[in-house]
């Protein structure tokens, strides 16, 4: 490291007094009144064989006015008195926190010397980026540019600390309405997909769309301003949307219209239904039951159902003569009815079936059947399933799961199952990719700081603490970090802050920030962020470009959601997403007069099989139309079998 060339024009000088001394971690310097220095600016001091990089964290200005009273006297008590011919001597005094010292040892107070604004090279050194952004095995992921004093220096995160294994996870906080959180994550995913080094393996993303159309148009390009394009160029990134995006959304309760705002027919091909059956739900029964529900008895009965009944042939002659084949909620309900009929028939003493008390059985039945009610559209009654491509995730692909229209309980269910499945597959190394970024907005809903210790919260905690070893990385966002479980956000190696609410900044979590930094955070413009990253010893402000994907609002304007279609037309649209040649009229004729459940089942089978001729397959599964025959009005009598001699007869 070389000393700052003397030809550079200093913008300030370090000052140290007994009351404001230089220390190894901070120093004061003054500047000219018109200096470009501001809060968040990176500066360097080079003197006495030592170079110190610092970031400005506070500033003050004062004049030589000894007391405010002197100003009152001078103005004769009149604030409107004419201005004085002389401007008072004024100081601009800044406090900078040390980012790095060279040499690092011995660690000493910052020397008295001239202060310079950082150059590109200084920024890289100050943030220790030279260790991971250069060389054949570089691991830098551009996250934005440091912009101050006319400088736009690219700032990169270290993917070893963003996606593991050294550290992982990213959490972003910021007030709603500025689109900063979502935009930042979209941009960062773009950056990751374009720069994640080959030697680190493959990466994909799973994004939960939890509100409106936020993430519904990641595959559509945005119109970017020249300034934004300039930022992409500065970071060496291409301003383009995601190339490989699949959308999953549950059905509406009708089972054929998708419950998402991405229903414009032009986008139908990449939007698939997310449909689960009883088996998919039962493994996560704990998610949908509150803590009081899942006592040891209920847990034991659920285990019994999962291991002995669901998806298996279960035979109990006391219930009925033939075996149960429980595949769906309807089958399960039939099974429960058989149990209750049996116990009622027993009368007194019929309170226990196979060691399970009737109250426990009833409770489990109520809760499980409640799922199919509250999650109608996600959970089918007929056993048909359409799920994420487990085992065949593609490198640099994005799976968006739109849960915005779902009941909160169903959202929990989706979230728990998807993350658990990701974990299972990553543990077995058979997901298809080495790393998965899971993006969850509104983290405060899933892992609140207060409230019951839910399954989802425990799962998120586990993910945040152990996910990095698996390549399972959580990118999470919320308005108020203080309202999220502390350990979940605390485990995020990288923290990002957009514009913050002053009340939030007053909470203890932000006690380490200077008042000036807090003010800057509270007034941060759109497109600027404050970053904490393991390599950065102090928070750094960066500017990032608008993501190159269409915003939700633009997307909805450009691709207006289709109105909820009548049953037959919705089926036709589903089939057309598999084969554009399918005629709506043909589908209408085919489903006319058929039971909707039968149609849904045929549609699910077609989707599952993805045949070459979807319509023909659909028709074949739907079966021939059965013409109803009128029931005979009169039963013919059946002659009694001639009775043998009745030994007990009279």
């Amino acid at each position: 490291m070389t000393e700052t060339p003397v030809t550079r024009h200093p913008i300030g000088r370090v000052v140290a007094t007994e009351l404001k001394p230089s220390t190894p971690h901070q120093f004061y310097f003054w500047t000219a009144r018109e200096s470009a220095v501001g809060i968040g600016a990176i500066v360097c001091v080079s003197a006495g064989g030592r170079t110190v990089y610092g970031v400005v964290t506070d500033g003050s200005a004062y004049s030589d006015l000894p007391t405010p009273m002197m100003d009152v006297l001078g103005a004769d008590g009149d604030p409107a008195s004419p201005p004085a011919p002389s401007a008072r001597s004024e100081i601009r005094l800044y406090l900078a926190s040390v980012l790095r010292q060279e040499p690092a040892e011995p660690l000493q107070p910052v020397p008295i010397g001239p202060v310079h604004l950082a150059t590109d090279e200084d920024v890289a050194l100050a943030l220790r980026m030279e260790g991971y952004t250069v060389g054949e095995r570089a691991t830098g992921i551009p996250v934005g540019v440091y912009a101050a004093g006319g400088l736009e220096s690219p700032v990169s995160l270290d993917c070893d600390f963003l996606l593991g294994p050294e550290a992982a996870h990213l959490n972003i906080s910021g007030v709603s309405g500025l689109a900063t959180k979502t935009s930042a994550v979209e941009f960062l995913l773009t950056s990751i997909f374009q720069t994640f080094p080959a030697h680190k393996g493959s990466v994909a993303a799973v994004c939960f769309n939890v509100k409106g159309p936020d993430l519904c148009f990641l595959d559509q390009p945005a119109e970017l301003a020249a300034a934004d394009r300039g930022l992409y160029d500065r970071m060496g990134l291409a301003a383009e949307p995601f190339r490989d995006v699949r959308y999953f959304a549950p059905f509406r309760p009708d089972g054929v219209n998708l419950n998402t705002l991405r229903t414009n027919e032009a986008l139908a091909e990449s939007t698939e239904p997310l449909v689960w059956g009883l088996r998919e739900v039962l493994d996560f029964a704990e998610v949908v039951m509150n803590k009081d529900d899942v006592d040891a008895k209920a847990d034991a009965f659920i285990d019994f159902l999962a291991e002995r009944v669901v998806g298996r042939e279960f035979y109990d002659p006391s219930l009925r003569g033939k075996a149960f084949q429980v595949q769906s909620f309807a089958d399960l309900d039939e099974f429960f009815r058989a149990i209750f009929d049996f116990m009622e028939a027993l009368g007194k003493g019929g309170e226990v079936w196979r060691t399970h008390h009737v109250a426990t059985i009833r409770k489990v039945r109520n809760r499980l059947s409640n799922i199919s009610t509250r999650s109608k559209g996600l959970v089918t009654d007929d056993g048909g399933v359409n799920d994420l491509p487990w085992g065949s995730f593609r490198d640099r692909s994005v799976q968006v799961i739109d849960v915005a229209g779902l009941d909160p309980l169903a959202q929990d269910l989706v979230f728990a199952r998807v993350v658990s499945k990701l974990r299972e597959h990553l543990e077995r190394r058979d997901l298809g990719v080495d790393h998965v970024v899971v993006f969850v907005d509104e983290l405060n809903k899933y892992a609140p700081a207060d409230g019951p210790d839910t399954y989802v919260r425990k799962m998120l905690l586990d993910l945040s603490e152990r996910g990095r070893y698996l390549g399972l990385v959580l990118f999470s966002a919320q308005q108020f970090r203080s309202q999220v479980q502390r350990r979940v956000v605390g485990n995020a190696g990288t923290s990002v802050f957009g514009r913050m609410d002053m009340d939030e900044l007053a909470t203890p979590q932000y006690a380490t920030l200077s008042p000036a930094t807090k003010i800057k955070l509270a007034t941060l413009p759109k497109g600027e962020l404050m970053l904490r990253h393991p390599h950065f010893t102090q928070p750094i402000f960066v500017r990032f470009p608008r993501p190159a994907v269409m915003t939700g609002r633009e997307g909805v304007e450009r691709f207006p959601p289709a109105v909820e279609l009548p049953f037959a037309e919705a089926v036709a649209r589903q089939l057309r997403s598999l084969d554009r040649r399918v005629s709506a009229d043909a589908v209408r004729l085919a489903v006319d007069g058929r039971r909707e459940d039968d149609v849904r089942r045929a549609l699910a089978a077609t989707r599952r099989s993805r045949p070459d001729d979807p319509f023909a397959y659909f028709i074949s599964v739907l079966g021939k139309r059965v013409v109803a025959e009128p029931a005979p009005t009169q039963r013919r009598g059946v002659r009694a079998v001639a009775a043998p001699e009745d030994p007990y007869g009279p």
Partner: protein
């Protein structure tokens, strides 16, 4: 050399004699108070000149004190309300009797010797002589700074002190001396009372403070109300070259000086110390 802890507290530094030195009235038959029109700042760049001195007693050779003295002077010019230092002067002296200087072994680089007059040796009297000698050095340095400024610039130059010490300044049409000290008063009797009871934003009749010595004219100007404070509160004597001694010029200059009251300089002399002069003092203290 016997070491010294510092200047003895008994030394009567700057204890100028309080005297009446009768002046000659130029304007009016008897001293009058003239109201000054509304304050209006100078319409051209203005520079302020001042000097400082610092004396450190090094010790005694026998009974003779030897001191190291530093005098500084600077001119700061104001353009668009902001000050820039345009002239700076500095001199460092070893001050003492010849024998003490010789015994000290010569002057370090950049330091000149300043001999005190010989005579019966009394350490306190010598210390007072040192002080007077350094005063003179500072005064000369201020004059040198004024000359240096005048060689560069033609604007107004406001000095903290009298113009009559320099024949050049005494005739400079753009030099103004602001005398804050009133140890020498120009009138006595009823005139003195009118002089000291001058109302705020008034000036006295123009007078010649040192008749027959330098062609300098002067008037007193009350910058701030004095009632309830002190007769001298806010009272300065303004000295100008004779060319500026007409009543009209006295009014114009007084208006500009009233504008210079702001911003208030602060400190014990805030009522008489112009802010521009204050910034020169700050600069000299900080340098």
């Amino acid at each position: 050399m016997a070491p010294a802890a510092g200047m003895p507290a008994v030394l009567p530094f700057r204890d100028e004699d309080a005297t009446i030195r009768p002046a000659r009235l130029i304007e009016d038959a008897e001293l009058r108070a003239h109201p000054v029109p509304a304050a209006a700042p100078f319409d051209a760049p203005v520079a302020f000149l001042d000097g400082t001195q610092r004396t450190e007693l090094l010790g005694y050779f026998g009974s003779a004190p030897l001191a190291l003295a530093e005098a500084r002077a600077a001119v700061r010019e104001r353009v668009d309300g902001l000050f820039t230092t345009v002239v700076r002067e500095r001199q460092v002296y070893l001050v003492g009797r010849r024998a003490a200087l010789a015994e000290f072994g010569g002057e370090p680089d950049g330091v000149e010797a300043l001999e005190l007059p010989e005579g019966p040796l009394h350490p306190l009297r010598d210390l007072a002589e040192i002080r007077r000698a350094v005063d003179r050095v500072r005064g000369n340095l201020e004059l040198a700074a004024a000359d240096a400024f005048r060689r560069q610039r033609g604007g107004w130059l406001i000095l903290d002190g009298s113009l009559s010490g320099s024949p050049t300044l005494a005739e400079d049409p753009r030099a103004i001396g602001i005398v804050k000290s009133h140890s020498t008063l120009p009138f006595d009797g009823a005139d003195l009372e009118r002089y000291l009871r001058l109302p705020p934003a008034h000036r006295t009749s123009v007078f010649e403070p040192t008749p027959g010595f330098r062609p300098v004219l002067a008037w007193a100007l009350r910058l701030w109300p004095w009632e309830g404070r002190d007769l001298f509160h806010g009272l300065v004597r303004v000295e100008v070259a004779a060319v500026n001694g007409s009543p009209e010029r006295a009014d114009d200059i007084s208006r500009a000086l009233l504008a210079e009251r702001l911003p208030v300089s602060g400190g014990p002399q805030w009522d008489r110390l112009l802010y521009g002069t204050h910034t020169v003092q700050q600069f000299l203290r900080a340098e």
